[in-house]
């Protein structure tokens, strides 16, 4: 039976939103803040976070106050870099 928390086909924009938000932060980000920035409800956010952890795009860090924080990995940074490069190529390849 398929796991309801597992996700096979992630929404490109939600993934990009989470990666971009993490890329902008200098330090690991508290989960709830990241969820607000991702503009999705907590259940959906948890699915995306699981998926991104499995793919190695983000990692969890324990902070001194025992709250789990999320940080972007090098792989996540590279992936986001590719996404923005591709969308930028679309914008620049215009012929007016």
């Amino acid at each position: 039976m398929p796991d309801p928390h597992r996700m096979d086909r992630p929404d490109l924009y939600v993934v990009a939103r989470i990666l971009e938000r993490l890329w902008r932060e200098d330090k690991p980000m508290v989960k709830t803040r990241l969820q607000v920035a991702a503009h999705v409800n907590y259940d959906v956010f948890t699915k995306y976070l699981d998926w991104m952890l499995r793919k190695g795009l983000v990692a969890l860090k324990n902070s001194p106050e025992e709250r789990e924080r999320v940080v972007i990995t090098d792989k996540g940074m590279e992936s986001y870099k590719k996404l923005v490069q591709w969308i930028n190529e679309v914008i620049h390849e215009r012929t007016p």
């Binding site: 096979d8 086909r9 992630p10 490109l12 924009y13 993934v15 990009a16 939103r17 971009e20 938000r21 890329w23 902008r24 803040r33 607000v36 920035a37 793919k55 190695g56 795009l57 090098d74 792989k75 940074m77 590279e78 992936s79 986001y80 870099k81 590719k82 996404l83 923005v84 490069q85 591709w86 969308i87 930028n88 190529e89 679309v90 914008i91 620049h92 390849e93 215009r94 012929t95 007016p96």
Partner: protein
Amino acid sequence: MRHDNARNAALILSIAWLAMVMWLVYGLYSMYKPSDGPHIFQAIKMYSALLGGVVILVLSLVLDYGLATVDTDPKTTLAILAHRLRVLAYRVKEDRKGIKVQITSSTAIRITASTSGGRTIVRYKPEQTASGWAALIILALSFYGLMIASAIGIAAIRKAKNFAQRLVLPQILGARPMSGESAAESIRSTLIDGLSEGYRLASEAYEAQRSNYQDGILAVITVAIFVWLLSFISFVTLIKGQSLWDEWQVLVIASVIVTTIFCIPPFLYLRQKVRAKAYEFKSWSTRLQTRLMQETSLAPPKDADQSVFEVLNDVSKEIPKWMKAMRKAGMFADPWTWLVIFSLAYAAFELLLWGIVWSPPNPGMQIPLFLGGGAMAIGSYLIYTRWRVNQQEEELAVTASWETRLRKAKVRMQNHLEEL
């Protein structure tokens, strides 16, 4: 120093311009002083001054000037420069010839780079924006306005020189290769490039749409004047000899009513459709400028904000609309073709007018005038229809290829995520 070339050129052209203005004033003065020799010599004085103005204008537009010699290859030099100017919020357009940077609403600068002796030479030349070209062409065609056009040309050299010296040169000399950037820096550079390009396109689309709206209003006003005159003359002809003629106010009001019925619908269409679209483009331009400023100033993100990736994705969907607006703004987008169309139409109007008004007693003169006027009118019409067909074909091709490109990019991104 290299930019002294531009300063010297501006100085020499300014002196030449001053001499030509004085020569023109002297020519005009001679026209009103019969004792100053035959008319032909007076006319030669005046026209030679105007010809001098044409030469000054052309020289101010075609000359380019050296700025710097660097060791990076031309393509990289221009790519780094374009990026750094975008970070400074300038509107930069990259094309095969180099980069074009807008300095003011009417003035721009073109920067090129070429290889010589194993090094890269960066050059620049003053250019005009689309609205700058339109103003320059109108002035150049308005006889005495030509001297003002050539003065604008000289002023453009000075503006370009100041911009190149103060802003472009430090960016070239202090350039750091983009290949040495970290992934995080590279992401920011790419986001800035995308936002800046989107901002430039949205701004140009807004300017084109605004020009469309203003042209439309001008056309409605012209048609309104004709309709009013035509209806007034028709009413006068219809009721000639009747007592109503004494009450001419009634005829004026009736003509105004007819004009209103004819002209209000196109006027409302222009306000509700064309102007509304201009506002939409303006709002995009403002939105992108704000995001660009946030990105370049490293301002902290707000949780309510869309991600820049999503903004760029939205931009990529809007670009075909912006391109369409730019194409539709005929004179704005393609001033040279429209100059030919207007010139031919005007010549046709003049020749036909001469044929009708001034030469009825002389059929030998009238026939060539009609034939010439007809040929000019047909030429103008053919160039217009060809331009229109080309525009439509190009629009269809670009829209189709754009949709394909966007779809392919999305599939590529989605596959990338799935294959991680």
